[in-house]
Each structure stands twice: as C-alpha cells, then as structure tokens.
C-alpha cells in the first residue's frame, strides 16, 4: 500500500491517478479471531488499530453492518475539545486531544484537525462561575483554558448579538484554543486504512445477529456472514448499544436518542472558530468547504430512527439567529440525525461487562466524536489487559451502583437532559 504524501500525489498525478491502491482490503471473515470488534465506526476502528499498534494483537476483525464510518462518525458536528471538569473525564479527553494532535502523522492520513479554538459562551454570573471552575480544573491539569469577559468576547467575536434586543446577553466565555474541528469521515477512513495496514480485517456489510456462547461465556458472534469465533468480543456500536447488549442479556444505564445536525450553504470564511451558545443547546463552526455546521438539542424522546423533526430544526436555527443575527438570510442546505447512546450521567462506559468475553464501549451521548482516539486507545488497553487504564477507570458499568455518577452537567439520571 502506498504511503500518502505530497510526493505521492505528484507522482500519481503524472500517471493520471491510475495507480492508487485500495485504502483497505475487503476480506472475507476468517473463522476465528483473537479479538472481534463489533462496529466499524471511528471508535471500533481505532480500537482495532491500537490493539495492533500498542498491544501487538493483530488477529483482529472489525465487523460493520453497513459501511464503515456510516454511523455517528459520519453524522456529527466534528468538534474536538478537552474541556471537562469531572474527575474521570478530564484526563481522558485530554488524552484524546493529545492523540488528535498527532493523528494525521500517526495514521498517514490527514484528518484535518483544525485547532481553531472553541468558545463556551456564558449568559449569567452563575454560568461565569461554573465556567471559571471548569477552566481552573483544566488549567490545573495542564490543559489550556482562558476565561474572557464580555468585552474580550466582543473583540474576538464581533458578530454575536450585543444589542439591547438580545434576550440572553453574553457575559463572557471560556475558551480552549487547542479545541477545534476535524474532518469526521477522514477519521474513520484513516483508522481503517491504518488498521488494515496492521493486518486487521475490516468486514463491511456484516451484521451481528447474536452471540456464540460456551459455558455462559461469549466466544464469538453470529453474523449475516455466518458465525465468527473470537477470544474476546468488543462492542463499539454507539447508538445501538442498548439493542446489542440486550442480546447478551445486559440491561444498561443507556437510552437511545436522536440528535440532529445542520449545515448551511458554503460561504467564504465567516466564523473562524467553534462557538457554543450557553442559553440553549447549540453550537456552530464553519467547515473547510465553507458550510456552517450546527448542532442542536436532542429530539427529547427515545429514538432509533435517523429522522429529525421540525421542532428541533426550529430550536437550532432559532438559536443560530439569536446568537448571530446576521445568519438570518443564509440558507440551510441539509439536516440529518444520528442516534446516540445517552447514558444516565452523560458520561461513557469503557469496561468489561459481567458477561465473560464481552467488552463494552458506549454511552457516548453527544461526545463520541472528540473521544474517538482515546476511546479506541483505552478500549484496546482494557481488552488487551483485562483491566481499565487509569484514564478510563471511572467509565465503569457499575458506577451507578456505588454512586460515582460522572455528571458533568449535574442534570441527574435523565438522559435527554445531558
């Protein structure tokens, strides 16, 4: 497989781009693997990649019911940040950020991480205090964070609504300069290509319909392409975790909800950063192609349908105009929805399950994309060593029993509130 570089582009261009090879193979499943990862999204592919790279476990397959990267990896708002306050979250997301920062080189695939910074706007003194606490935790843990007052935000983001007409005036913002966006599809493709290079089999169009059991232990999966045995089975199927775990007899602290995203027509550069509105659940950035990428609130009810309803469209676009009034005449090009695992405390699960042979990576709520590298890294560690790494040691399944809810928003066990 050819290495990607400016030189390779030049060389291939001269030969009419006729000689590029496949980015990854399309193998038939082998009868058995050491580790089988269910779910060919960013998390599953990253897990396979790090199993091979970090733990030298190469007899690995990733099976995907559709096409790789077709779940939430391909339908998010591409934001990457590490501004988490709760112990258990903070260092995990910072590990992710650090992996992101060298991911393009690591994978030899440009994932276009653009560290254009992210502003979390505050609209009350109380929000400023909460932001200060978050920023302080970040700084104390070696993560960059700055707290800006209204004037500084106004200097940096002059296009927000500072008029008397504004319903929720900006009081200030917390800013992480290393945050930004990455090209979402490239993450799946880059990990797929790199994992494939390490010998991982990526098997698309292969749906898990059940598990293979032996003595109460899971020893593989039954798929639409036949049974595949595995020493260990890892689930990385965010959005469908509840459904697939139930086939293994697990009831999880997870509900599945749909989240919409939106993109406008492409424009010349207008918004050079990522902005999160503090008066409603809304965030916006601009893609390299020029489209304004926007995310809103959950539909509010359990859903496995990748359908988005009008109330949330109104909510998100209303927030867009409230935040930046001049967006009014710009046009929405597409809306779509992804289904996500909303956990009861808003934080993920990366852990062994009570079922021997089954490992779980899920419950990502809104935050799965940014977590992709660390999620794969920590899940690979957990599978390889049969124990969590320090960075995912709080992402257990039984934390609700002992009471350490990693409730970053303080909303309690109400998934649609996180």
């Amino acid at each position: 497989m050819s290495n990607y570089s400016a030189f390779s582009i030049f060389r291939h261009a001269l030969s009419g781009n006729k000689n590029w090879s496949r980015a990854w193979r399309d193998p038939d499943p082998k009868p058995s693997y050491d580790v089988l990862i269910v779910g060919g999204g960013g998390h599953g592919l990253a897990t396979a990649y790090y199993l091979a790279k970090e733990h030298d476990i190469r007899n690995v397959a990733v099976i995907e019911k559709g096409w790789l990267g077709g779940g939430n990896t391909g339908r998010n708002t591409t934001i990457v940040r590490s501004n988490y306050m709760m112990p258990g979250n903070t260092m995990f997301y910072e590990r992710s950020m650090k992996l992101w920062e060298n991911l393009s080189q690591d994978l030899n695939f440009n994932v276009m991480l653009s560290q254009r910074g992210q502003y979390n706007l505050c609209h009350s003194p109380g929000q400023m205090d909460a932001a200060r606490r978050r920023g302080n935790v970040m700084r104390a843990n070696g993560i960059d964070a700055e707290l800006f007052d209204r004037d500084e935000v106004r200097r940096r983001l002059p296009y927000l609504d500072y008029s008397d007409n504004c319903r929720f005036p900006v009081h200030g913002a917390i800013f992480q300069s290393r945050a930004g966006t990455a090209r979402h599809d490239a993450v799946a493709w880059g990990y797929a290509r790199a994992a494939d290079k390490q010998g991982v089999d990526i098997i698309q169009q292969c749906e898990v319909v059940g598990y293979l059991w032996e003595d109460g232990k899971i020893i593989g999966v039954e798929t639409t392409k036949g049974p595949i045995r595995a020493g260990k089975v890892g689930l990385a199927v965010a959005g469908h975790t509840g459904h697939l775990a139930s086939k293994a007899g697990l009831r999880l602290p997870i509900e599945t909800h749909a989240l919409q995203a939106f993109v406008s027509e492409p424009l010349k550069p207008l918004i050079d950063t990522v902005i999160s509105f503090g008066a409603a659940h809304f965030y916006i950035s601009q893609s390299d192609k020029g489209g304004l990428v926007m995310g809103g609130d959950l539909e509010g009810y359990n859903s496995y349908a990748q359908l988005g309803g009008l109330p949330i469209v109104e909510h998100a676009l209303g927030s867009a105009k409230a935040l930046i009034p001049s967006l009014s005449r710009l046009r929405l090009l597409r809306q779509w929805a992804g289904v996500m695992d909303m956990s009861m405390d808003g934080s993920p699960i990366i852990a062994k399950t009570p079922v021997e042979g089954l490992y779980l990576n899920g419950g990502w709520c809104y935050g799965g994309f940014k977590a992709t590298p660390a999620s794969g890294w920590c899940f690979a560690w957990t599978i390889a060593k049969d124990e969590p790494h320090e960075d995912n040691c709080e992402f257990t399944l039984n934390r609700f029993e002992h009471g350490y809810q990693i409730d970053e928003k303080g909303m309690g066990p109400q998934p649609n509130a996180h």
Binding site: W67, S114, D185, G309, S328, R331, L333
Partner: protein, 1001 residues
C-alpha cells in the same frame, strides 16, 4: 429589445420593462422573467465560477436543480449568497453579482486551479498537507489558504432588516406540485369537498405546461383548471412556495416566498412565511428533473438541459442559441429541438438511439431540424463558451465508433433521461426502486399510506397518464379523509406536443466516451463541485464504493443543488465500474430541505427579544422605573441592584447589604416557585417528597424542607406553609419550580395514584416581598393591620394574615438573610400597590430596596446554600443538611442517597472561607493544601464568594474534602484563569450570627 429576446411569444409582460444589473452591468427584463431568463436575454453567458477549478459557468437549467448559475443576490444587509438565478423572479432594481471569483466571473484568476487539477483529484487533501513535523501547524497553514479558496458566496455580519412569520395550517389533502398531475389531484380532492392546500414552488401554476409554446391546448386546459380550483372555497393555493420537508405523521414544512420577488417587502409584511402544514393525506406530484450527459466539456457555458432550452424559448421568449445541437437518448428532447427550430434556430439533433419511431422523425421534418441517429456528443468545444460539438457515431454503450466531426454551435442542449423528484417521499425513510425501462428511481406508491405519488414523479407515461394518476390519487385521498362528495369525472388531459413521454424507448446512456471507454477532456458529473468522472473512477479504485463513501470521498451530490442532476450519473458510473446493475449500488437517502431554505424563515418572530418569552414579576415596572439594573435569571428578569449616584455593582450591593443589617430592606422575591398542595393526603405527599417530616406541622406554621432527586442528590429546597387542614403552600427555588411541580404530578399520577392530592402552580397568583433587617417588624407593624407581629405571637416559621393598604396579605416569618425577616405574600395584582405602601411607610425606618446581589451576600454570610451549591451533584451531607433527613420514613431518594460514594468520608463538604488580603475570591476557584503542588482537581472549590459587609472581610462558601473537620486550616485558593492565588482560613459556613439571635429576635 435585447438581442436574444424573441419578439413574440412567451409568458412575459412586454408592456413593462424591468431594469436590473448583473455585476454592475445593466440588463433589462419583463415581469414573468426569472433572473436567468433575463441574463440569457441580455446575452450574459458567464454567470458564475465553479467551486474547485473556477471554471466559467453559464445557465444550465431553468429550475431549482441549477448547479451553475449561482449569484450573490442583493447587497448589504439583504444580500443572499449562492442564489440560483433560475429561481429568482425578475423585479425592478434587482442587483446580482457574480461570486467565487476575482476580480469577476468573466476574468477570474482562480482559473489557474484548473492547471492543478491532476493534483486535486478526489480526496487529495486526505493524502497530504500533514507536514514534516508533529502537530497540526502545517495543516492549519495550508487550511487557511484552502478555506479562502473554498466557500462560494459571502455572508455578512449585518442584521437582516426583513421579518418572517410562521403559520400553522391544517388540511385534509396536501397536493405538492401543480403540473397536470397535481392540478388533477387538487381538483379531485377539492370537488369531493376535502380541505385542500395546493403548493407550487414556481410563481405560477402549470408545471411542465408552462414550458410548452404559448397558445397551445395546455394553456386552455390550465385556464380551465385554475378557474375551477380558484372557485372552490375549500382549496387554498400557495405559489412561490416550496415544500422543503416531509416529516412523520404527515407534517410538512413549506417556505412561501411572500415578498422575495420585489426589491424589499412592503412595510410590516414578511419576506417569507414558514408554513407548518398538518395534513391527513398528501399527493406528491413533484415532477421530474432532466439529467445531463457526461462528456468532455459538458459544463461549459452554452451547454444546457434540453428541457431548459425549451422553457427559455417558450415561457420566456428567449432564444438561448442560434446554432443548436440537441443531444439526447430519449424522446423528450425532440420537443425542444422543434420549438428551438420554430423560434429561428438552426438545429441538429443527435440521438444516441439508432431507431426512433417514424412519427417522431416526421414531427421534425417541416421545421428543418437535422437528425443524426446513433450519434453522441463526445466533447463540447470552445473557450469561454460552446463553439462546437464534437459528434461521433456511438455504440449502444456510449463508445465512439467513428471519427468525430465538429458541428459548430452556440448552444448544446442535452437530455440524458429524467429523474423523478422523489425527495419528499424518500425523506419519510423510504428507498425508491429502480425502473430499468425508464432508467430512473421511482417511489413505491404503496409504501406510505398517507402519501400518494402521481405523474412524472412516478415516471408516468406522458400527460394523459399523469392526469389520470393525479386525479385518482386526489380522489382516493379524498375518500380516505371521508370527504362527502364525489370527485366526478377526471378531466381530459391536455394535448401537449409529443415527447412528454420521455420513458418510451429510452436508451440508458449517461456517458459518451472514446472507443477506449474514456471520456475526452474534463467530463463532469457534479458540476458545482467539479467532480469529474475520473474522480468517481478513483474513488472506486481506492475502495470507496458504497454510495455513502462515494458521496463523502468525492463530495459529489453535496453541493447546493444537492445532486439533483449529478446523483444518477455518479451512481451509474459506480455501477458500471462495479459491473452490477445500478439498483445494486443503491441511492443515498434524501434529507430535508428539498431546496436550501433561509434560516430566518424557520425562526419566524422568535428571535431577539422574542428568542424566548420573558417572565416579569408584578413589581417589574417599579424596579425599572426606579433605576434598578435588571438581569436574566432563567426566564425571569430580576433586579440585581439599585445603583445610587453612579455606583457600580460592588459599591451598590455592599451598601444595600449593609443597610439591611443596620436598618431594613426589601426585595422582590416573587420569582420563587409556589405550588398549592391540596387534599386530604397532602401531609403524606409532603412527607414523601421532602426529606424531613411533615405529619405534625400545625396550621399556621411553616417549615423549611429539602427535596432529593430519585438518585439521592439534592434537588431543591424551600419552605412550605400549612394554610389549612388539607391545604399547603409550597415554595421552591426560582430555578426548580417547574421541575418540582412536574415531578410531583408525575408521582401522583403514576406511582402514588392512591394519594388524594392536587398540585397547582400559583407562582403567578402571588407577589412576594421579603422584608429584612432589625427594623422590619417595626415597619410591618406600622404599615399593616389585623396581624399581631410581636415576637411571641409570630415567632420564626409562623405566618399570619393581615392587611396592608387595604390588601389582605399573608406574612411569613422566615429568614434567609439571618436578619429578622418576613415574606409578605400579596395577590399579584395588588403587589405593586403594597410595595408602594411599604416604600411610603418605610421612609421613617430608612427602608431601601435591595437586589439579588445583596441578597446573595446576605445568604453567604449566613451560610445558606443556593443554586451554586445545589449544582446537581451534591448530597445533603455535602451541604451540611443531613441532619434534616428523617430516619423514620422513606422519601424520594432515601435509598439511593446511601450509595457508598455518596456517603464517603472524604467527599467535599460545605465550609466557609475567610480570604486573606484585600481581594475577594472568585467563585469557581480551586482549593489546594497550603503547601504542596497546585495541580489536579484539588481539594475542593469555591462555590459562592462575596465581600461581607457585616464582617468587613472577603468570604466564600466552598466545598472542601472532609471540610467540617478542617476548620482553622489555611488553604490555598487558586483561580488559574484569573491569575490569582490567595490563602484562606477554613471556617464554619455560618459566618454571621451563628446562633441565630438576630433572626429569632
């Protein structure tokens, strides 16, 4: 008269001349024109530049599928980037500008990108720009340049001067599209008596009929249909309105462009109207979109869809070319050839098929159209625009079999078949099926019970079938909604010129190649995004074969036209490469909106002040009129402070808080949540929702209580008074009022159905004024009557009724400030009156109003927890409230609050801090051991901080690990983001009057 404008014909009003400009050059048009037809009439051929290679582009279509002719419409605050010229109605004073080009679309220097095109193949950016070093620096340098080059039009940072509105509508049958099928459907449903809404995106009804020559049978038919429809009261017609989305349960989103066809909307009138239509049945008669063919130079100005060329001639009386080559693989382009020839063009028709019916050929004979069967166009030649077509004989799979020859032309009109507009049907989660005879994807009409498809969107065979299908769909829909009358007989279909039956004998060729199967030159599949056939080939080679991978890797179909032209050709190329039928490749799922919609239209009036409704207390006007600074508290506006003589926040709150401790102050606390708890089981209910006991509370008393969430975390606190035997008055925090009520109702209606309790919000019924300070009793005693406020008659946590200024009020003795304090409950409509009375009566007592900032300082001095401490993660133990919990009874959260982590010794718990030095601490600062590293999450954090006027110190409440056992310890308070490090002494949170002498006085 402009050069390409025909002297007769067309559906334009020649009696009026509209003056417009494009890139500063004057153009003229007539009412009925689109910007595109006016540009063509004025011989403007280069309208835009493409996304990647900046290739010159002209007008390609006559509709919403336009991939090329995007303009920046209007300027200043009203500018609209990326506007297809084909969808803009001409108006006096219209100004449009070329975009994505410098200095302009005619002379764009960005065209050099074309030289780099071999290096800019699909996905090239994934393979490079990573740079030689670690990190993202090199990429971001490259990205800056890429971002400047990308994008299309420009947004502005000026506020939109126009307004928008949303309308909710209800109907029985929604008919989408007003061509022969849609009109017939509306007629059938309308006659039956159903409530019908007919929506048409164009400015006038008629659909494909509008593209036929003026004066034909279609016009007469259209007039008759319009007359009958407009006479029906139960039929509402919306033109210039696009159904952008089909949602579950038959809800449709529509944007009506109410005043977009003028320079600016009239005063008070909305620019656009967003209709949210709830219907019982829908008929989708959305027609079909013609496809182009893939060959070298198929994007040049002068290449146009055949149907569009026909539309320009017949509807707009514009001759888009004098020497025309029409290239087709189906019958429909014959009508275009005929009409162009009849309008004066010399026309050569190149048909990929070797045999066509004699009748079809006969129809062209009289017009002088030259026909070449078994031929295709291999390339379009010309600089800046088409000057010739290279034509060759071809095999049935589109490969050249002979020697190419040039046919000079200035218009190359192409028809590669048609794609039914299935978007709305698909948005409901359905996949269309491939119809190989007609080479297109069609809906499965039975898939959605409440949506019927008809006409060209079902690939119907011509207008006779379209009318029959439409009428039947409308009639069936009417029966389904139980309309009373009969639909009568279907109208006789209009006789339209031959060729509308495009599916017949179609030869499915999409691409014309040389004898090696290669396209010549740059052959585009997605015109706007510059996706060439070779990009699809590359994606295939690299394994991006699924339609979603193909779409994402190449970005085909993701431009502003959303692939309306390109999707099919991309799919068929991928099918060819994979050697499978196109049906096996599948289609991408269509997402709303069908065409791009302005954000502002969806927002309607809910922006600015009306982004969310505002909640005002009954005393709000007084605060504003008396100089209060009011600030947002959730939905409420509350007075934060009342500055005197240029005071800032800090001076004002310190003065106000000091004043309360010295004299008497009053504050509007009407925002407190208030819930009536009524019924014989009220005490039991309270006993279950509060952690403390309520069974023994006598009438006339009130009690502070704490509520937990089901998971044992503290949710809310407040006081509840027992007004009568079965009648309690609960107060909640401002923030949690709705949550507490909803939870109570939930428990009563689901788990505790046996309890006879009713909850009703009475937040709005009562204005509440807290009066606090050593002189509060004197003041209230003086101003009220009928209430004995003496220490013995009204101790703390008691209430009494009395009268102030003629108003019956209830006075609770209750303190959050630590002072002798009362809460006066007043029917809200009299709140202002009583407040005024207190202000007047307060003069001798030195009464002053205070705001939320001073209230905060007072409660911090007293160690009362509030919002910052009740952050959804703290337990009663954390807040020092666990003593309140009853051990004798279960309550909400009583089991789960005892989970091991929640009762662990080392949890951060509430303490006070006295800050060393002159500067106050900031809430959100972290706490660390006095000596030792300041890193990690620390020992705790500062939740609330203030200057304490009573103590003359800066103090704070904080949560500190193992806090209550660390009183006296000195700790470090670090505000990293503020750049401050302070030391503080850990003290009891009850800073002021810990024994409560003052409040119990």
């Amino acid at each position: 008269m402009t050069s390409s404008r025909l002297s007769t014909g067309g559906r334009i009003d020649r009696s009026t001349v509209l003056k417009m400009t494009f890139d500063g050059r004057s153009i003229v048009g007539h009412p009925g024109d689109t910007l595109a037809s006016a540009l063509l009439a004025n011989d403007e051929n280069v309208i835009a530049r493409s996304f990647k290679y900046h290739r010159a582009r002209g007008i390609y279509t006559a509709g919403v599928e336009e991939p090329n002719a995007l303009v920046q419409l209007r300027y200043g605050a009203r500018t609209e980037p990326n506007t297809p010229a084909t969808t803009v109605m001409a108006y006096e004073g219209l100004e449009a500008f070329g975009q994505n080009a410098w200095p302009n679309v005619r002379l764009d220097v960005g065209v050099v990108n074309q030289l780099l095109s071999p290096f800019m193949s699909a996905g090239f950016y994934y393979k490079t720009f990573v740079g030689p070093f670690k990190g993202t620096g090199f990429w971001m340098l490259c990205e800056k340049i890429i971002r400047q080059a990308a994008g299309m039009g420009r947004g502005v940072t000026l506020d939109d001067p126009d307004t928008y509105e949303k309308v909710n509508a209800f109907c029985d049958v929604l008919v989408i599209g007003s061509g022969p099928a849609g009109l017939s459907a509306a007629l059938a449903a309308g006659r039956a008596g159903a409530k019908v809404i007919l929506v048409e995106q164009d400015s006038t009804l008629g659909g494909s009929l509008l593209s036929a020559p003026v004066g034909g049978d279609g016009d007469a038919w259209l007039d008759k249909m319009k007359a009958e429809l407009t006479a029906m009261d139960n039929v509402q017609i919306l033109t210039r309105s696009t159904v952008f989305g089909a949602y579950e349960q038959n809800v449709y989103g529509v944007i009506e462009r109410v005043w977009d066809h003028v320079l600016a909307p009239p005063a008070h009138q909305p620019r656009q109207r967003y209709w949210q239509i709830r219907t019982k049945q829908a008929v989708m008669a959305t027609g079909a979109i013609e496809r182009n063919m893939v060959f070298g130079g198929n994007d040049k100005p002068g290449v146009m869809l055949a149907s569009a060329a026909r539309t320009y001639v017949n509807r707009f009386a514009v001759l888009p070319g004098r020497r025309v080559v029409v290239a087709t693989n189906n019958d429909s382009a014959y009508a275009a050839a005929l009409d162009l020839a009849n309008a004066g063009s010399s026309v050569t028709l190149v048909d990929a098929r070797t045999q066509v019916p004699e009748k079809l050929l006969d129809s062209l004979k009289a017009s002088g159209v030259k026909v070449l069967l078994g031929h295709g166009v291999l390339t379009a030649k010309g600089r800046g625009g088409v000057s010739a077509a290279t034509v060759t004989t071809i095999s049935p799979d589109g490969r050249a079999t002979g020697t190419a020859r040039h046919i000079p032309c200035d218009l190359l009109a192409v028809s590669g078949g048609w794609s039914p507009v299935v978007h709305l049907w698909s948005q409901r989660g359905n996949k269309p099926v491939f119809n190989s005879a007609k080479a297109c994807f069609v809906p499965v009409n039975s898939a959605i019970e409440t949506m019927k498809c008809a006409g060209a969107s079902m690939a119907a065979d011509g207008s006779v079938v379209a009318v029959a299908q439409g009428f039947s769909a409308g009639a069936t829909a009417a029966i389904d909604v139980k309309a009373k009358n009969s639909s009568g007989d279907a109208p006789i279909a209009p006789k339209v010129s031959h060729g509308d039956d495009w599916g017949r004998d179609l030869l499915s060729i999409n691409t014309i190649t040389d004898d090696n199967g290669k396209t010549r030159g740059k052959a585009f599949i997605d015109l706007q995004h510059d996706i060439k056939q070779s990009d699809i080939d590359l994606a295939y080679r690299e394994g991006y074969v699924s339609v979603e991978h193909l779409k994402r890797y190449t970005t085909t179909g993701m431009a502003t036209d959303q692939g309306k032209l390109s999707n099919f050709n991309a799919l068929s190329q991928m099918a060819m490469l994979q050697g499978v039928p196109i049906s096996d490749v599948g289609t991408t799922v269509f997402r709303p909106p069908y065409t791009p919609i302005a954000l502002g239209a969806i927002v309607g009036r809910e922006h600015g002040t009306h982004f969310r409704p505002t909640r005002l207390t009954p005393l709000h006007d007084w605060h504003v009129n008396n100089g209060a600074i009011v600030s947002e508290a959730g939905a409420w506006m509350r007075p934060q402070y009342y500055p005197e003589r240029g005071e800032g926040l800090r001076e004002a709150y310190i003065r106000e808080a000091s004043h309360v401790r010295k004299h008497v102050g009053m504050i509007d606390v009407s925002t407190l949540g208030k819930i009536a708890v009524q019924g014989p089981d009220s005490a039991e209910f309270l006993n279950r929702v509060y952690v403390n006991g309520w069974k023994m509370l006598p009438v006339g008393r009130l009690r502070y209580g704490v509520m937990l969430r089901e998971d044992g975390i503290v949710m809310d606190d407040g006081a509840t008074a027992r007004l009568g035997e079965h009648d309690y008055f609960m107060s909640t925090t401002t923030a949690n009022a709705a949550k507490v009520l909803a939870l109570g109702e939930h428990l009563l209606q689901t788990a505790w159905k046996d309890l006879k309790v009713h909850l009703t919000t009475i937040t709005d019924q009562w204005a509440v004024i807290a009066v606090a300070g050593p002189k509060s009793r004197d003041l209230l005693g003086a101003v009220s009557s009928g209430a004995d406020l003496s220490r013995d008659a009204l101790p703390n946590n008691h209430f009494v009724h009395g009268e102030i200024a003629g108003v019956t009020v209830r006075i609770h003795r209750m303190s959050y400030s630590g002072e002798l304090a009362y809460e006066v409950y007043i029917p809200s409509g009299f709140g202002h009156h009583v407040w005024d009375a207190l202000i007047s009566a307060g003069v001798p007592y030195n009464l002053c109003p205070y705001g939320t900032e001073a209230m905060g300082a007072l409660r911090i001095e007293k160690g009362h927890v509030a919002g910052p401490e009740l952050d959804g993660r703290t337990t009663m133990k954390d807040l020092g409230l666990e003593g309140l919990a009853s051990g004798k009874k279960p309550f909400v959260g009583s089991v789960l609050r005892n989970r091991p982590v929640l009762i662990h010794q080392s949890r951060p718990c509430l303490v006070g801090l006295e800050i060393e030095g002159d500067q106050g601490a900031q809430a959100g600062s972290l706490l660390y051991l006095d000596t030792g590293p300041t890193e990690g999450h620390g020992e705790g954090w500062v939740s609330s901080a203030t200057y304490s006027p009573a103590l003359g110190k800066n103090i704070a409440l904080s949560l500190l690990q193992n806090g209550p056992e660390r009183l006296g310890e000195t700790i470090r308070v670090v505000n990293f983001v503020g750049g401050t490090r302070q030391r503080a002494k850990v003290v009891s949170p009850h800073f002021f009057d810990p024994s409560g002498v003052r409040q119990n006085d």
